[in-house]
């Protein structure tokens, strides 16, 4: 396997993790990740020239995830009103395949965020990306990213602090 393939393969965990995070659906995330990697292979030369290949593939992933979610909403709209029991249906847990207590805590904290705040927080916390890199991935202004990140962190801290206070009553 050549150097380029190794570099591309090392991006797969980042892509799959981000797709699962955004879609909350493991199978859909695999399809999106596959499509992302396919595009990365096709545009390998462009990717090699990119300053930040990880941001480049994550941007493709984000766009494909948005398309997927939009298609899902359109399908639901075309299918007519939702059945009554589906109103209670919550999306799959973020790391549904793990089912650990820690992930459940994280899931609870993140579920309170908006989609934008959630994505910004993910890229900052999980991918250790700076604000300008996050803006590049999500097609946002770095200042907007900074505000969204600050709100998201504050929100998550409050949820986790409340939980810690409940566990340790005075």
């Amino acid at each position: 396997m050549d150097q380029g393939s190794e570099n591309l393969e090392s991006l797969v965990p980042h892509v799959l993790r981000f797709a699962v995070y955004m879609l909350r659906d493991q199978h859909a995330a695999e399809d999106v990740a596959q499509e992302t990697m396919l595009r990365a292979i096709k545009h390998r030369k462009k990717l090699q020239r990119a300053d930040n290949p990880r941001a480049w593939v994550l941007r493709i992933t984000a766009n494909l995830c948005r398309d997927h979610l939009r298609r899902g909403k359109t399908k639901l709209r075309l299918a007519g009103p939702l059945p009554e029991d589906s109103a209670d249906k919550t999306p799959e847990p973020w790391f549904g395949m793990l089912q650990t207590e820690q992930c459940a805590e994280l899931e609870t904290a993140i579920r309170s965020l908006s989609d934008r705040e959630s994505s910004v927080l993910y890229l900052s916390a999980f991918e250790d990306m700076a604000c300008n890199e996050i803006g590049n991935v999500l097609n946002l202004n770095p200042a907007t990213v900074r505000v969204a990140l600050s709100r998201a962190r504050q929100s998550v801290r409050e949820v986790l602090a409340r939980k810690t206070d409940q566990e340790q009553p005075l």
Binding site: S5, L8, E9, V12, P13, V15, L16, R17, V20, Q26, E30, A33, Q34, E35, M37, L38, A40, I41, K42, F95, M97, L98, T100, Q102, C103, E105, L106, A109, A125, F126, S150, R153, V156, R157, E158, V159, L160, A161, T164, D165
Partner: protein, 201 residues
Amino acid sequence: MNSCTQLKAYLNDELNMYDADEFTIHLQQCAACNSQVCAEREFERLVRAAKHEFDAATQLQQHKVWERARATARPKHILRSPLAAAAAVAFIALIGGGIMLTNSDPDRAISSHAPDNVPGESPSKESSREPTVAADQEKQELVQVSLDQDSPYLAVPVETSDPAITIYWLHPTFENDDPGESPSSSSPIVNPQSLLASFES
């Protein structure tokens, strides 16, 4: 300056060493700030754990995604490679040329086909069939047709899908300089009139 306002800067590692030390002292006295810092540390710990667990649990999926993407991309890359495309064209041209040469080489055809069972003409007595000739080649027989005495033609019968119809392909032969090595010694001279008569019948 109220130290509680420095919480955000502290969490973002934006304080200098002196201010950070001061804020650490403040944390021991302020329960609200302490709670926020603990929550931030907890969040970071959860993220690290989740990241590690997720990567460990999705090893198989990661491999599957990569292999599927590569498999999907591979055929298109072969077609797009100019070298591979040129090699494919050259290969097809070689094979095609080889087949055409095999079919149009009169010497090879004469040596490998016996001129018997020609419609409207009796087979030559001197002609002998080689034992190595394949069965399917035996069907394609070669006869020499003389439209006039000076310019003999080779007539190659080509079978069609209809067994009742046989098409003859006429091809001018070499000059008959040496009568001893003439193909007429092994191939019968077919009268075109009798050939036409057999077609009509």
